[in-house]
């Protein structure tokens, strides 16, 4: 089923392309703690890739390595076929990798629309002097960016709160606004750290639908961390399983579900 160079076709008939992001022998330490131990895996174009594992397994750390917030001591990241030198998070973002955070990082003082517009910063091209001199050009760019932002707001069904300051929103909606801001960058790779954590069943269903729709309509490659096994099995094409910083499984949801190491890891650890 898995062809290295060409990609594969999913059970529901979606075509998955070549490797976009490849992590090779990544090791990440915090002082004496090894949060990631010699892990390799890849993410293919158009797929939904899940990273799962018990608390403290190193999932968020892995996402932080991909997005440049952490620099691994050992290993190499390949993006779109080329080795990526150590980069600052903002440089990674400018390469078309957008993300959300486990603990939500929104601009609390701004409105929903302003948050989403700020997600378009990497697409705002006109320089400081350009904006002063060619007012028309800057305005046209602003209008175009505004249109994209509004389209994403419609897509995620948050029109009603467009002008609401984010600080006033309930948790579930904040998660959705954060997704909207990440989408506004029109990323080629979208990283979601527990997008459904702390949500009720209904909110989880909405979020799952949005993630599937984003992948389907925009063809966005998505890597996500999730604890809810049901959700993971429904959403993802391939799953990486981590435990104590090590990779203990990698494959389709079915393969992973039947992997003895994975079963042991999950039985041995209590969950919320």
């Amino acid at each position: 089923m898995l062809d290295q160079a060409e990609g594969y076709v999913t059970a529901d008939g979606r075509k998955i392309g070549g490797v976009v992001m490849e992590m090779k022998n990544i090791t990440l330490r915090f002082g004496g703690v090894e949060a990631i131990k010699d892990i390799s895996f890849d993410i293919r174009e158009g797929e939904i890739r899940a990273i799962i594992g018990p608390n403290g397994a190193g999932k968020s750390s892995m996402l932080n390595v991909i997005s440049g917030f952490y620099i691994p001591q050992v290993g190499q990241v390949f993006y779109k076929g080329a080795p990526r030198p150590p980069m600052k998070p903002f440089e990674v973002a400018r390469q078309g990798i957008a993300r959300t955070f486990q603990n939500i990082a929104l601009f609390e003082g701004m409105t929903v629309l302003d948050n989403v517009m700020t997600g378009r910063l990497t697409h705002m091209k006109t320089g400081l002097w350009g904006q002063a001199i060619w007012k028309g050009k800057a305005e046209a760019e602003e209008t175009a960016n505004r249109e994209v932002a509004e389209r994403i707001i419609d897509f995620l069904e948050i029109q009603a709160i467009r002008k609401t300051p984010v600080a006033r929103l309930p948790y579930g909606l904040k998660k959705r606004v954060e997704l909207a801001r990440a989408l506004a960058a029109e990323p080629s790779l979208l990283l979601l750290d527990e997008p459904m954590a702390g949500m009720n069943v209904e909110e989880k269903e909405d979020m799952s639908r949005f993630i599937l729709d984003v992948n389907d309509e925009f063809g966005t490659t998505i890597a996500l961390i999730e604890h809810d096994m049901g959700v993971v099995m429904d959403l993802s094409d391939r799953v990486v399983v981590m435990d104590y910083g090590k990779k203990i499984g990698d494959g389709s949801p079915d393969e992973v579900r039947n992997n003895q190491d994975v079963i042991d890891a999950y039985l041995g650890v209590s969950h919320d």
Partner: protein, 343 residues
């Protein structure tokens, strides 16, 4: 009593004008504090440094002349030319941008993630360093600052005669309002308007607001913190230059200028450390408040008649006591965000 009211109105207007300067210095503080959490004690010295640099460039002074002469045994002091005000201002702006870059590159880049108190201490060090550099670069004597757009159109000095005449016809008493104060107020309004447009409608302004709100989130949308911090220090440097020109044109460029920075502290207590409107309103309240209070307390007809005594030089402490009262009853200031410890 109606005479007193007329006098008080004049004092009120003069207080507003004085408040503009406090507001400008406080504005520089707020810009840097919002973007980086650094409480910049050096903001006042930056105004001094900017004004000295402007005068130095205008009058064709050789920077570090004493140092150069001491090392090489030369006797140079002046280039022997004068630089047009506008060119001198542009050059000074460039110097302030260079200063912003150096502050970020050599100091705060190494202090990312440190406690606020450490960042604050670093700015105290910076303030004295900058004062020393200013002295070494341009000398310590008091200098006259005059900015002229062209021959004959300089910053206006003296009393505004139109206001004097109009108020005389109205009240039988002519108000004394400095032309310079009026100009300063207009320039300050333009400056604040420009800043608002910049922060609301440009890409850099949006990035600046993003950084002020949440560093991590800003990084994730592709904003370079380093770039924004240099930008913010540059803007604060520009605001300092404007404040320095106003103060310098009024009382000459001298080292006591850095003391007005201290007056910005009570302004910030009033306005809140993170609010630009707060800095402006706070500055005006302090300016008006201290002038009116002085007027009231030093007048035998008012305080004398009411309390049986009068006081002088209340301007020295009024702002600080007002700030203290605010600290007790509204620690976040007039417009500041409510301080809530997150648990």
């Amino acid at each position: 009593m109606s005479d007193q009211l007329i006098y008080a109105s004049e004092v009120f207007l003069n207080g507003l004008m004085a408040g503009v300067l406090y507001a400008l210095v406080a504005l520089g503080f707020v810009l840097i504090f919002k973007a980086s959490g650094i409480f910049n004690f050096a903001q006042g010295v930056m105004a001094l440094f900017a004004a000295m640099t402007l005068v130095g460039i205008q009058s064709g002074q050789v920077p570090f002349a004493h140092l150069i002469n001491a090392v090489f045994g030369t006797k140079i002091h002046h280039f022997g030319w004068e630089v047009h005000s506008i060119i001198a201002i542009i050059l000074t702006v460039l110097v302030m941008i260079l200063l912003a870059w150096m502050v970020q590159r050599f100091i705060f880049r190494h202090l990312v993630g440190q406690e606020p108190i450490i960042l604050f201490m670093a700015t105290i060090g910076l303030a004295y360093l900058l004062e020393g550099v200013a002295d070494l670069m341009w000398g310590s004597e008091i200098k006259k600052l005059d900015v002229c757009l062209a021959e004959g159109t300089c910053l206006p000095q003296g009393i505004n005669l139109a206001i004097d005449e109009a108020t005389f016809n109205l009240f039988g008493y002519g108000f004394f309002i400095d032309n310079l104060d009026i100009t300063a107020t207009i320039i300050a309004i333009l400056l604040v308007t420009a800043l608002v447009i910049f922060s609301q409608y440009t890409k850099q302004g949006r990035a600046m607001r993003a950084v002020a709100d949440d560093h991590q989130a800003a990084l994730s949308v592709g904003v370079s913190l380093n770039y924004i911090w240099i930008l913010v220090w540059s803007v604060a440097g520009f605001v300092a230059l404007v404040a320095g020109i106003m103060w310098g044109a009024k009382s000459g460029v001298q080292f006591s200028l850095s003391l007005i920075a201290l007056k910005a502290l009570p302004v910030l207590m009033l306005g809140g450390f993170t609010s630009i409107p707060g800095a402006i309103v706070g500055g005006l309240i302090i300016g008006v408040g201290e002038k009116l209070f002085e007027f009231f307390m030093s007048s035998g007809d008012l305080a004398g008649a009411l309390f049986g005594f009068t006081m002088n030089a209340t301007e020295n402490w009024f702002a600080y006591v007002l700030a203290l009262i605010f600290l007790v009853f509204r620690p976040q200031g007039l417009f500041g965000e409510k301080i809530i410890e997150r648990v």
